[in-house]
Amino acid sequence: MQKPKVCVLRTAGTNCDQETAFAFLKAGAFVELVHTNSLISGYKALSEYQILAIPGGFTYGDDVAAGKILANEFKYKLKAALLNFIHEGKLIIGICNGFQVLAKSGLLPGNDELAQEASLTLNDSAKFEDRWVYLNCVTRGRQKPKCVWTKGLPEVIYLPVAHGEGKFVVRDKAVLERLKGNNQVVVEYCDEKGNPAGYPHNPNGSMEGIAGICDETGRVFGLMPHPERHIHFLQHPRWVRAQNRQEGTGLQIFKNGVEYAQKKL
């Protein structure tokens, strides 16, 4: 079977590109690091790839607001290519700054006009924080999750967050209802048992503990925590006392994307 091609997008201030590329590599994909300039100039075409990953970092210094400038490049310079990419049934994942870009460009939660409906704003603690969090990835009491990226994950997973602007907010109540009704809430902050909990379990004060959402197709996924920072047991903060030394839970997310692309694209 042919390896799917992943475009790990980078630009000024991207800084999780290499470990994200490594995670996809481990998951069995062929990976290229591509600068936004190459896509805008037409030197590279997005259509060559099956998966687009927007990694973490501080694109353009997070000036104006986190991810805002790259989001505008998406909206005003790459809109057609991106929409086409999604229409072709391909996959997008945005991690941390990548999620901020997807939300601010309107690709998440997603609507026809690419109008922004959700945002990631300053943490309630008013500072950047790096800490590990538990995530509930089986949306409680609802129908089968639709996001292709989180299939087969255990009920509770453990990943690090590292951000200053990660508080998930929506434009109005209707958006939140739609997200929940459509089963677009993919991962939620929780305690170690999987129950909703306050700070520091919910590290930024996100509405309803939302840590990641997908679009209506389930193929475009954005999340604040960093799955690429937990693909190996050595990255777990308490691996020294762990009995079983398996791969980190983050790797499954990348494998899901790669497997989906292999089967369907």
Binding site: R10, A12, G13, T14, N15, C16, Q18, E19, F22, A23, H35, N37, S38, G56, G57, F58, Y60, G61, D62, K127, F128, E129, D130, R131, W132, P160, A162, H226, E228, R229, I231, L234, Q235, P237, R238, V240, R241, R245
Partner: protein, 687 residues
């Protein structure tokens, strides 16, 4: 050397004066500068981690005592932490290690040490500019910021510095530097240049001057891109505007090189070329404005001779009152600003970016205990790791800078051992921050410390690979000059063959045995315990490198055999603080018997020498000591490996969440719940 294909480099810089005037900007550009040092090593190393160590005046310093022209230490602390966070996080370099210490004498001059380690392919480790190469300036535009930064940094500060020298503080832009990093590595791997140097202190003048040392260089200063009009050619030449690198580029590769930078929106401009005239020739719009002999430039400065005097101070010899119950002292020690949890700071730094984190700065069942040293894997596909640790304790210098230096080296090295590595592939850096070297008493202490470094490094058998100094850390208040305590930072870096053998510091399982390795002497001079009572004393901890090395090597051997469940070094606050930290980080209790702690006689004080008081044993800060947790099943094997090394089986891990220490008389001298201890440790800096 990291492995067959890669080398590593490590540098620690100081940015004290700028941080005193403008904490955010000073610390920000301090980090930026040391990252560029790394990028300018060989043909460019990729930075893989940062370490940041600060010294401030107490953060609860009374406002009304604040000398004119100084900022409040709390404001400096917050600004510095923000500056480091901003640059490190945005560059995507994990800040994995650090320390913060406090003393009133830092009121006029805070210390900010910034360090970066990097990795580069073996064949890219050396550079050589060639005749005819184009001089290419890469990165940000040049402005008036940071003019005379280097000279300002080398003078004393006064209440006027804020108005006179603010323009000397540089302005940082981490994203510009990130762009430079990305493109430089790309150009390096395409072999597009012969040499690279960063524009640091002195700006272009030192970068070009250094590179052209053996050749000669010709520069047209009007070609330098400017932030705004109106700079004189002198200003262009010495500006310390940040985020600039100088490359030496063969003419036939110039076009390809410029294209690499252009493709990612990085400014790159040829501004001259290297010649073979042995002269540094500067032009502005075609007119010769500077012409210097390279030899004069590099060798022309006569070697200064200065006078140094050192006399051992005699401090009043008093001891804290005897107490049956030492629990209150332990609680106070845990809350001591030097010892307390720095979680508020650490969490603001991204310490996991690049995905290589193996042992994080915070560890334990709740991820909040203090790790001894941090370990990262710079290559994601390899099990090899880099360890970074630091040793710093200016207090010992109040008694003797010689032993301060030896203790700092011991501390940095024992932290490497404590995380399970060996000293086989370890190296040291020194960073001296001192007062005015023209004053013989200040220089005397500095000389003592340097001698201590020399002897200790030889004794431990670990080489120094680099160093730095920052002098004139003095502040004039009412015509009286206040110097900082002479402060030495020792940073250690080591390569760990197999990071899956790492050892962490928190207790793992009830019933496991607790050993104390290394001997305890009555060395409480300048200890944190004495500090609680306002005593300095005279018996500063000494180091015995030969014996220490035996202890270190024995422990490295047992950790490589997986016989150690947890290990923590004893430093500030001694055995009691170390054990308390292990307990509350592991969420488990411990019992210990002071009787079993290996103690040593201090020869100088003949009769009364045997350590006899519980508090002396528990709070002494003697060097080369560890607390080690071992499974009962491994007791025999562990003790066999420890033969020839002083050790005592002193207690065990307990089910009950309590720390209990039994004194020499068999009675409990410390008893406290681990939650109470943790609270005391976290409270001080929970902002």
């Amino acid at each position: 050397k990291f492995d067959e294909k890669h080398n590593i480099c490590f540098k620690v810089e100081t940015h004290n004066h700028p941080s005193a005037l403008e904490p955010f900007g000073g610390a920000n550009t301090g980090v930026g500068g040391v990252i560029r040092d790394c990028l300018g090593t060989g043909l460019g190393a990729k930075p893989v981690c940062n370490t940041d160590i600060f010294c401030f005046a107490p953060f609860d310093y009374p406002m009304h005592k604040l000398p004119a022209g100084t900022l409040h230490p709390k404001r400096i602390l917050k600004g510095v932490v923000s500056g480091v966070r901003d640059y490190g996080n945005k560059m995507g370099i994990p800040t994995i290690n650090g320390a913060i210490l406090f003393h009133e004498q830092f009121i006029g001059n805070p210390l900010v040490y910034c360090g970066t380690a990097g990795i580069l392919p073996k064949e890219k480790s050396f550079k050589e500019p060639l005749k005819g190469d184009a001089i290419v300036l890469v990165g940000g535009a040049t402005g008036r910021d940071g003019i005379h930064g280097a000279t300002f940094s080398s003078g004393e500060l006064t209440h006027k510095s804020e108005t006179v020298s603010s323009g000397s503080v540089q302005i940082g832009n981490p994203i510009e530097e990130k762009k430079i990093l990305d493109t430089i590595i790309k150009a390096r791997d395409l072999n597009l240049y012969n040499a690279i140097t960063d524009c640091g202190a002195g700006g272009l003048s030192s970068a070009v001057g250094e590179m052209g040392k053996d050749l000669g260089a010709k520069v047209e200063l009007s070609k330098v891109p400017l932030k705004y009009k109106g700079l004189t050619y002198t200003e262009i030449w010495i500006s310390e505007s940040q985020e600039r690198m100088v490359l030496s580029v063969p003419q036939d590769k110039l076009a390809a090189l410029l294209e690499v930078f252009r493709s990612e929106n990085v400014r790159a401009t040829p501004i001259g070329e290297f010649t073979d005239t042995q002269k540094l020739q500067l032009y502005y719009k075609g007119n010769l404005v500077g012409n210097l002999d390279m030899h004069f430039l590099h060798e022309g400065w006569p070697r200064p001779e200065k006078k140094a005097v050192f006399s051992t101070p005699r401090h009043k010899e008093s001891v804290p009152p005897r107490a049956e119950d030492l629990t209150p002292s332990l609680i106070r020690l845990l809350g001591h600003p030097d010892i307390c949890s720095k979680e508020w700071v650490i969490r603001q730094y991204d310490h996991e970016v690049q995905g290589g984190s193996v042992l994080k700065p915070l560890c334990g069942v709740a991820n909040d205990g203090p790790s001894d040293a941090a370990i990262i894997k710079p290559l994601l596909h390899s099990a090899k790791g880099i360890i970074v640790s630091n040793g710093i304790n200016f207090r010992y210098g109040f008694i003797d800078p010689y032993w301060m230096a030896a203790s700092c080296i011991d501390e940095a090295l024992r932290q490497v051992v404590a995380v399970g590595a060996s000293l086989k592939n370890a190296a040291l850096l020194d960073n001296f921050c001192w007062g005015n070297p023209d004053k013989p008493d200040r220089l005397g202490g500095l000389v003592r410390a340097a001698l201590g470094c020399y002897d200790a490094a030889k004794g431990y058998g670990v080489p120094f690979i680099s160093g730095k100094d920052s002098l004139n850390n003095e502040y004039t208040i009412k015509n009286k000059s206040l110097a900082i305590p002479g402060t030495l930072l020792i940073s250690a870096i080591a390569v760990m063959e197999d990071t899956s053998k790492a050892v962490s510091m928190y207790l793992k399982k009830p019933g496991n045995l607790l050993y104390i390795i290394g001997t305890t002497a009555e060395e409480l001079g300048a200890s944190h315990y004495y500090d609680l009572f306002g005593i300095i004393g005279n018996h500063v901890p000494k180091a015995y490198p030969k014996k220490a090395r035996q202890v270190f090597d024995a422990l490295s051997r047992v950790s490589s055999k997986h016989l150690i469940r947890s290990m923590h070094d004893c430093a500030e606050g001694g055995i009691a603080v170390a054990l308390a930290e292990m307990a509350f980080a592991g969420g488990l209790g411990a019992e210990m018997f002071v009787e079993e702690v290996p103690v040593v006689q201090v020869r100088a004080r003949a009769q009364k020498t045997q350590v006899q008081r519980d508090d002396f044993v528990l709070f002494s800060e003697s060097n080369s000591r560890f607390i080690v947790e071992v499974e009962r099943a491994h007791q025999k094997e562990f003790e066999r490996y420890m033969r020839g090394v002083p050790f005592g089986l002193c207690g065990c891990v307990s089910e009950e969440a309590q720390l209990k220490i039994f004194g020499l008389d068999g009675k409990v001298c410390i008893a406290a719940g681990i939650a109470q201890l943790k609270e005391a440790w976290q409270k001080s800096l929970r902002w």
